[in-house]
């Protein structure tokens, strides 16, 4: 995985200045970091083999000019590994520079191109530093899912292990990320505060390692694994909603250096088992609620 190439795929929309900016950003990025390879979206779309192979085996930066998100669509069709997505209108807002009306970029827009490409290169450097956790965040997952009334629950099929307290662990070599499941974030509803433990703390399996609070309740994260806490997801302090939006990805809580995962695993469930367990639990609760409501309304 480490020797994978990094490629950049812009949308190349030529009919709007947004598209022109996207294209220029891609060109600027490869100028600033020559290790990155450019993929031409037009040639890719014609089914050219070299690009097809390249896109499958590399990590991808996507630059989309507008909400049509052509670059994203091209990439997602090919099941590629996306590590960064840039949407020019977002960037335009971020840097407070409006896209110009003309298709040749004015000075301000050239500056915008420069600012965005700097940001991409910078983010990429950060990514290289903490490769492990970032790539975990962005990997595409395959889910079991079930819809109950209007609520939708997902469980990743592989790679994750679960305890009966509805928390997950995902290991890679000696390290692992820990978080809560879709079921638990649904039960909590909109999470407003996340309390994270101290880095460096040694924990045992089933210790509580953090709590989260919605306007409804306070719940705990009960660690499926044992080891030392080597990182916490600081983003959750400003964005606790990540836990609701992406509980298996951006909403991770802590990173562990594992002590004895093989032993821990004996008491955990894999994806298919947890999915069954979760379905049972939801059904039981639903029936229970049904009864409560009926009793109240006789």
């Amino acid at each position: 995985m480490a020797e994978n190439k990094i490629c950049i795929l812009p949308c190349n929309g030529l009919d709007k200045s947004l598209g022109v900016i996207a294209r220029q950003v891609a060109l600027k990025v490869i100028e600033k970091n020559p290790k990155i390879e450019l993929i031409c979206p037009v040639l890719l779309n014609t089914g050219e083999d070299n690009y097809e192979n390249l896109i499958k085996s590399s990590k991808l930066i996507l630059i989309d000019g507008c909400m049509t998100r052509c670059a994203t669509k091209l990439a997602e069709k090919r099941d590629s590994k996306i590590i960064m997505k840039i949407l020019i209108p977002d960037m335009s807002k971020k840097f407070k520079i409006k896209p110009c009306k003309t298709l040749t970029l004015d000075e301000q827009n050239e500056k915008l191109v420069d600012l965005i490409s700097d940001l991409v290169v910078e983010e990429l450097n950060k990514f290289e530093e903490k490769k492990v956790s970032v790539s975990r965040e962005i990997e595409k997952l395959d889910y079991f899912d079930i819809t109950i009334d209007k609520y939708y629950f997902r469980v990743p099929k592989v790679g994750y292990f679960f305890n009966e307290n509805d928390c997950w662990i995902k290991s890679e070599a000696k390290k692992a990320l820990v978080g809560i499941t879709d079921y638990l974030q649904n039960a909590a509803s909109d999470i407003l505060f996340v309390d994270l433990p101290d880095i460096g703390k040694e924990i045992e399996q089933f210790d509580d390692v953090g709590s989260f609070e919605s306007s409804k309740t306070v719940l705990q994260l009960i660690s499926p694994g044992s080891g030392k806490i080597i990182a916490v997801n600081k983003d959750l302090r400003d964005h606790p909603e990540y836990v609701n939006q992406d509980p298996y990805g951006k909403g991770w809580f802590i990173e562990l250096e594992l002590k004895n995962f093989e032993e821990d695993k004996e008491l955990l469930m894999d994806g298919p088992n947890y999915f069954e367990y979760m379905k049972n639990k939801i059904m039981k609760e639903k029936n229970h609620l049904y009864q409560l409501k009926s009793e109240k309304n006789v």
């Binding site: 009966e164 089933f206 229970h288």
Partner: protein, 99 residues
């Protein structure tokens, strides 16, 4: 929980729930009967009584979610305690091995 909840059939990690002694213990020397824990717990582990000395009791111990200690966080006088987690984990392992 409601009346048709059948604690006998409940399991935790494939072990009958009734074989796992996990629930909070109330220290009546500390408890000020503020009832925050009772309000908090969605599983009706606690119950109020008319006994002046024990206005709060553990009514449904086996409703308690094994390893959950969330109610203790709501307890200002720190009157709730739980069994040793490691002992419980070892017990669960032992019971699982037996079946």
């Amino acid at each position: 929980m409601s009346q048709n909840y059948d604690a006998d059939k409940e399991t935790f990690m494939s072990v009958p729930r009734k074989k796992i002694p996990w629930w909070p213990t109330i220290d009546y020397n500390k408890c000020n009967f503020c009832m925050e824990c009772n309000k908090f717990c969605p599983h009706n582990v606690f119950a109020k009584t008319n006994d002046e000395k024990k206005k709060l009791i553990i009514q449904n111990p086996y409703n308690c979610v094994v390893f959950c200690r969330a109610c203790a966080k709501t307890c200002a006088p720190d009157a709730l305690s739980f069994p040793d987690k490691r002992e419980i984990t070892n017990l669960i392992k032992k019971l699982r091995a037996e079946t």
